[in-house]
């Protein structure tokens, strides 16, 4: 009798241990997805604002590129292009964390995919459709972003009006940037909207509706800024 009790206790203890491990796992994963997503979105918007300096002219972009390479710290004023490579590596690491967690939420097997397909055909729901767009653009970004990070991280010294224009228009990288721009701007705005709702930023339905409108405006504005910036590189190509 006593032995059975002790065995039960041991069983309870191991159950508790596995529970506490499981608890840390899923909770931390979910939080890290939200945090990495928000940081990536903030980086993305800042990045696009910096790139859009080309709209103010070549000198403005040269100045921004120089500051990003910390030229004010180097004696010869040329800066350190490897700083940009480091940023690219940091973004890649954050994106990796984000992808690893996000992928656990996607319908990975056929049963789940069929369930989602059936759900979408029977139930008409706007935010679920938004999530499908978020998932699809996320998958596209998974393939497009590494190429962008490699192109920039491997040749950071070429960033500038002439170098970037050459890459975008003469090397045909606009074929990568255009779909990447649309995908990230949709993905990021929907994602930040969802994170805000998820953690309780919207206390009522009206606030949520406003946030949804702001999300759409952000997507549209940044896509337009991005396209305008790509076109502004044309004269330098």
């Amino acid at each position: 009798m006593a032995i059975t009790k002790i065995n039960n206790k041991a069983g309870e203890a191991s159950k508790l241990k596995s529970w506490s491990e499981g608890k840390n796992w899923s909770g931390k994963l979910d939080i890290s997805q939200s945090v990495s997503g928000v940081i990536l979105a903030l980086f993305l918007w800042t990045h696009l604002v910096l790139v859009s300096s080309i709209l103010l002219g070549g000198d403005a972009m040269t100045w921004v590129a120089g500051v990003m390479e910390l030229n004010f710290l180097s004696p010869d004023g040329h800066g350190y292009p490897w700083v940009v490579s480091l940023i690219a590596i940091g973004v890649a690491a954050l994106a990796l964390v984000h992808v690893v967690v996000a992928i656990t939420k996607l319908p990975m097997n056929l049963r789940q995919q069929l369930a989602l397909k059936k759900q979408m055909s029977v139930i008409n729901h706007g935010d679920t459709k938004l999530w499908v767009w978020q998932a699809l653009t996320g998958i596209a970004i998974l393939f497009l972003l590494p190429v962008h990070l490699w192109l920039i991280g491997a040749a950071p010294e070429t960033i500038g009006p002439a170098g970037s224009a050459d890459r975008i228009w003469n090397d045909g990288v606009w074929l990568l940037y255009l779909p990447l721009l649309v995908c990230v701007e949709l993905h990021a705005a929907i994602g930040v909207y969802r994170v805000a709702i998820k953690w309780g930023a919207a206390r009522d339905i009206n606030t949520r509706a406003r946030m949804k409108r702001v999300k759409t405006v952000i997507s549209v504005v940044f896509v337009l800024i991005g396209i305008a910036s790509l076109l502004a590189f044309l004269p330098y190509a």
Partner: protein, 243 residues
């Protein structure tokens, strides 16, 4: 106003009890009457055109939650849906997805809700050392009672479950109804379960950390329960417990 209109119903028909029966959509037509709800129309169809049509109802007033079904793509209660809402006069009815099909529009939400209640222990857990059935129950602050009542309004219709794509993709996910009911006991001062105890049940991929905030629950709940706020509240509680 809309009297005399001919309504066309496209209704999902399938009886798993009849061997060889195949799922199909069947078209019915009926004259609209003033103030007609989908529930009234279904009763007329069954009385006048097809006595084999299966659907559930009890209260006819949005209280029992039995007549939930998917009406033109939106899961809701048939008794609270007026046919005048559909200017085209075309109404498509499907059973709630995610539940065992009894037949046609009837699904076994009761079995699901019972299993969920047993799994999540959805009942009050008072202090076992302080149970005295002869003693008068301690009064509750009106504010707390109001907060509990708000969440008690759930009629277990199953709409939030069928509107949730996460639940459809992951069977073990507890869904909004489970989280809403747990939130109700978490708020109840008489319940002795700790945050750790609640974490044990929903602090995982099948609970708050598996919810993708698609908000099908919030947008379709016929009782307008605050799913969005309550799930976010539980998630913050669980995240704080984690830290």
């Amino acid at each position: 106003m809309s009297q005399g209109r001919t309504l066309t119903f496209n209704i999902f028909r399938y009886d798993p009890q009849v061997s060889g029966d195949k799922p199909k959509m069947v078209k019915y037509q009926i004259e609209e009457t003033p103030g007609m709800s989908v529930f009234i129309a279904l009763n007329l169809l069954r009385e006048q055109q097809d006595s084999s049509l299966q659907f559930d109802f009890v209260c006819r007033a949005g209280i029992c939650g039995s007549c939930a079904m998917v009406i033109n793509g939106f899961p809701t209660l048939a008794c609270r849906t007026l046919t005048s809402k559909y200017p085209q006069g075309e109404i498509t009815l499907m059973p709630l997805p995610g539940f065992e099909l009894i037949g046609d529009l009837s699904v076994n939400t009761g079995k699901f809700m019972r299993e969920l209640a047993e799994r999540l222990k959805l009942w009050l857990h008072p202090d076992q050392d302080d149970v005295d059935v002869h003693r008068l129950e301690a009064p509750m602050a009106p504010e707390e009672a109001a907060r509990l009542y708000e969440l008690e309004r759930c009629v277990e219709c199953g709409v939030c479950v069928s509107a949730c794509a996460t639940k459809q993709m992951r069977e073990t996910f507890v869904g909004a109804v489970g989280m809403m009911k747990l939130a109700r006991f978490e708020l109840d001062s008489r319940d002795t379960r700790s945050v750790e105890d609640f974490y044990h049940v929903i602090g995982n991929q099948d609970g708050v950390f598996g919810c993708m905030t698609l908000l099908g629950c919030q947008d379709n709940c016929p009782k307008d329960l605050p799913h969005m706020q309550q799930i976010a509240y539980l998630r913050r509680k669980m995240a704080v417990a984690l830290v």
